[in-house]
Symmetry: C2
Subunit: 364 residues, 2 copies
DNA sequence: GTGCACCGTGGAAACGATTACATGATTGGA
DNA sequence: TCCAATCATGTAATCGTTTCCACGGTGCAC
């Protein structure tokens, strides 16, 4: 905001004079400049008219005193914190990490700071963070609800603080939603598996309480039935988007009298767990069983074998969500956005027909 | 803090009466309870003596009005925000993600919120976050400096705000440091490589401006010389802890007339890049070249082959750092801590002599 | 019965900024 | 020359809390 005016390296050596004075306020600057606090405030914020001489005096006084505005006081007065909250389901999930990073980047570009709350896929932690962020009087909230029924989040969505759902949402809320649509890509994936000769397909789902969890299994089921394939209950493993649940579900698949030809893990962590379970049995991917995932992460090209997956435009989602929220904050209309996900064919479901690229890390 | 007094699910359904009233302050509560704001404040904070009847009136009024304290105002008055800042070098690096997670967890347990700043290994971004966090009047700062010479960070370390370095530090600052010592584990690694018959060893280093970058290459060099091995300049690849630099350095190694027997990538992202470069050449790990890394992440057991690495006690580092900072904030002494890292032998450097465990994901 | 300690409560002053309004000076046009 | 408009500046209210201090009342000890 202030621009890089000060030369980078002199700060530490030259400002040794202003020791002892604990913290300098606008009052101290006013005193040093021989002006009122009102003028100092105006000069620093540069919005109202201030004479050049006064501005110069203020700037030099502020500089030599090492003045740093107290945003706590400013926020109290202006009722704006220039901060947005981001509540995500699991920081350890690289998908959300990338989302958080792009959110922070875009927010910074727009002059906002971001406070991240990690719900760890637990409803009560999500509630804690939502409450804590609201008390902090953030200007807006970005939420990817771990639990579809969290009353506190529901309240927040209908309260005065602008809120945008990202990735997941709560049906029935009128808050805008920014998300990826995986349906098309899932149909492509199923067609890919079918083309490779796989007929007995299985899926590891996310929590039914999440929209993404439901969407992925429904799209999978629909795509199967279009091809005349059935999805028996034994081929549906209930997961929770964490690695351990992927491992357990896969073990059950492998215990079946006729094991599936291929398994679709609906996020990257459960795919990790599935890989783990398969490897422990001494089985091979894709010869003994195929594996596909949702979410692309930098490691997928480097596992053995490289993993076929559905990639979301994660960074774009974060950027769009922040812009939607910023618009909402400045009184604009609610804007929802849906971006398409797409299939990345690698080698974990069998050798692809064409010479597909193995796909490097898709870090943009 | 407040304890889970309210029943979890009634909130959304019962509080529909208090619509319209934009935001309710302590003044409104006082009015509703027929008491002064001073008494309401005391009742809510439960520190000073308040009669039982008054307390009951306050609590019921606050509940029915849906009162939420304004922490901005509170912070202005008390000069404490119950918030700590965490500035890390790269959120996309799973090591720092795990660190951030454990920091947030421990901080929450101690009643603090955490604001994370991602420096992206760029000095000016680090400065931006440090400045922004200080203006926000956080109670304390946890920093893993991307750049060893950032004047702003240096100032902060000597300023009034308590600061603890975590992972990396700035030599010469008297702020406490919480970090892992990789020297012992690096010596173990070199012995392991030597035992497998590798003699021409190479290293991909981190930025020389970081303490961890320097420590790892120095320890490696020392361990080599103890065994009578040399480390020619051609076997030292300058990296920056990001994947791309690992790829480039490895390509140069592979272009050498005599390529190294094994490469040690000093963080997990550069190991990813190295793996990429090796695979593109159609070479095999460990048959054509061995690969070892620093930092264990959940994917390492699942790459082809599983990667031998040095694991840091990451979660413990985060916890200890938060506790050290909290102590500092409450006026305690500066406490530095060094925890040991240790070698995890897998298969990326050659078949180990003994039947070592392949090592599951070491998520604790 | 008087004095003293204590307890619950309210009034009011902070905290550090922004900003509506007032004020004095300057300027321009008639 | 005078009035009004403009401009730079200062005064003071305000945001929502916490907390110091004063005050009246009660109970206990003398």
């Amino acid at each position: 905001m202030h621009g890089p005016e000060a030369s980078p390296c002199t700060a530490h050596t030259t400002v040794t004079e202003e020791v002892s004075s604990d913290v300098v306020s606008i009052k101290d600057v006013a005193e040093a400049a021989g002006l009122s606090v009102a003028t100092v405030s105006r000069a620093l914020n540069g919005q109202s008219a201030v004479s050049d001489t006064a501005r110069a005096k203020v700037l030099s006084a502020a500089e030599s005193l090492g003045y740093r505005p107290n945003v706590v006081a400013r926020s109290l007065r202006t009722d704006r914190t220039r901060t947005i909250g981001l509540v995500i389901s699991d920081v350890l999930n690289p998908y959300f990490t990338e989302l958080a990073r792009s959110v922070e980047e875009e927010a910074r570009a727009l002059g906002y700071s971001v406070i991240i709350g990690n719900a760890d896929e637990r409803a009560e932690l999500e509630a804690h963070h939502v409450r804590s962020l609201l008390e902090r009087r953030i200007d807006g909230l970005l939420v990817s609800p771990a639990d579809g029924h969290s009353p506190l989040t529901l309240d927040a969505a209908e309260g005065p603080t602008p809120l945008v759902f990202v990735d997941r949402w709560i049906p029935g809320c009128d808050a805008p939603v920014v998300r990826a649509d995986g349906r098309g890509a899932i149909r492509d994936l199923v067609a890919h598996l079918y083309g490779l000769g796989h007929r007995r397909l299985a899926i590891i789902t996310g929590p039914a309480a999440t929209t993404t969890g439901r969407e992925r299994v429904e799209a999978f089921r629909a795509a199967l039935s279009e091809l005349g394939l059935s999805l028996p209950e034994s081929h549906v493993g209930q997961g929770d988007f964490q690695a351990e649940s992927g491992r357990l579900a896969t073990e059950r698949f492998l215990d079946l009298p006729e094991r599936p030809d291929a398994v679709f893990a609906t996020d990257n962590l459960m795919a990790l767990g599935a890989l783990n379970a398969i490897r422990v049995r001494g089985l091979s991917v894709p010869d003994d069983i195929g594996l596909a995932a949702f979410d692309d992460i930098p490691w997928f090209p480097h596992t053995a074998p490289p993993i076929t997956t559905i990639a979301q435009p994660t960074a774009a989602l974060g950027r769009v969500a922040v812009r939607a929220l910023a618009d909402l904050i400045s009184g604009g209309p609610a804007q929802s956005t849906v971006l398409p996900a797409h299939l990345l064919v690698r080698r974990s479901c069998g050798e692809p027909e064409t010479s597909a690229p193995t796909g490097g890390a898709t870090r943009e």
